[in-house]
């Protein structure tokens, strides 16, 4: 009758933050761009921490369009991976510390990615949030947007298709 007692908050937070950190810290390119993620429950916000090396037009100055695209793609892949792995991390099936050692853990692969540039990126931090429009067994479709000072004035938006990691076929 009675539901099980919920886990203490620190336990839940520690596990989720460790899992996110393991996913993000494992990728050299994410460190190269200095992208971090804010987590509120299962919702992620990508943060592109500004640095001079991200500039594409020194005269304006403005963020490099390739950086904006990469930021959107990283946010899309991490959000998709997070939603994909979250239940297995929560159930204890995947140990977050072992994420990059485990052969069974694979990340979604980008099939295509289309970026609309809406405004030039100012030389300061940018934020991005991705929405998984559909996640099937083989393919996923993700929409993602990036903004700076004002969420209602996005600097870029993108959609992409991804090939989901396939479970290893058990050989008889």
């Amino acid at each position: 009758m009675a539901r099980p007692r919920p886990e203490p908050m620190q336990v839940v937070k520690q596990r989720r933050d460790a899992a996110l950190k393991a996913i993000v810290d494992g990728v050299p390119y994410i460190r190269f761009l200095n992208i971090t993620f804010d987590r509120r429950g299962d919702e992620l916000t990508g943060v592109l921490n500004f640095d001079d090396k991200l500039i594409g037009n020194p005269l304006l100055p403005a963020l490099h369009g390739g950086v904006t695209a990469a930021f959107l793609e990283v946010t899309a892949v991490i959000t998709l991976s997070w939603e994909h792995f979250f239940p297995r991390i929560e159930s204890g099936e995947i140990d977050p510390e072992e994420l990059f050692n485990a052969d069974a853990v694979r990340f979604p692969k980008t099939v295509d990615f289309t970026v609309d540039y809406l405004r030039s990126g100012l030389p300061r931090d940018a934020y991005a949030r991705a929405f998984v429009s559909r996640s099937g067994r083989r393919y996923a479709s993700v929409r993602v947007e990036a903004w700076q000072d004002n969420h209602a004035r996005p600097i870029a938006q993108a959609t992409g298709h991804f090939l989901m990691p396939q479970p290893k076929v058990e050989s008889e």
């Binding site: 050299p28 594409g56 990469a70």
Partner: protein, 139 residues
């Protein structure tokens, strides 16, 4: 006469992010450009495979497309990306440079249309292809 290729090279290679990626402009002129990006462990997307992240390939292709637009005889000067779509065909081979080649195949007063490919040493199948539209601006 000043060497147009040399000016373009200095211009592209002075872009802070192009510098960070180690981009080198190899060819430019008449709406075509070629840029190489050397293999760099900092750009890896999955440490288990050593494959370069798609985002870095996107950045190289975007830079190359912009250079192709600026080199078109009808382009007055600057440009900015309106949209760019990339299809990823396969993982880039770890350890190999990526060569982006872009062609600005049509330009109007306001918009330039570009397509591009990214190759590694295997010339049979591109790593990625791209197609996009760019603005046409004075300098």
């Amino acid at each position: 006469m000043v060497d147009k290729v040399e000016i373009a090279r200095q211009f592209i290679e002075a872009i802070p992010h192009a510098k960070a990626l180690g981009l080198k402009l190899t060819t430019i002129g008449d709406g075509e450009a070629e840029i190489s990006m050397p293999y760099n462990a900092d750009l890896v997307g999955d440490p288990r495979t050593g494959v370069i992240h798609g985002g870095a390939v996107f950045a190289a292709l975007d830079t190359c497309c912009g250079a192709a637009v600026m080199s078109h005889p009808s382009a007055p000067g600057g440009t900015a990306t309106i949209d760019l779509r990339i299809n990823y065909m396969r993982a880039a081979t770890p350890g190999q440079s990526i060569i982006a080649h872009a062609t600005c195949y049509h330009i109007t007063r306001n918009v330039a249309f570009v397509r591009a490919t990214a190759m590694d040493e295997d010339q049979k199948l591109p790593v990625a292809t791209a197609a996009g539209a760019f603005t046409v601006e004075g300098l």
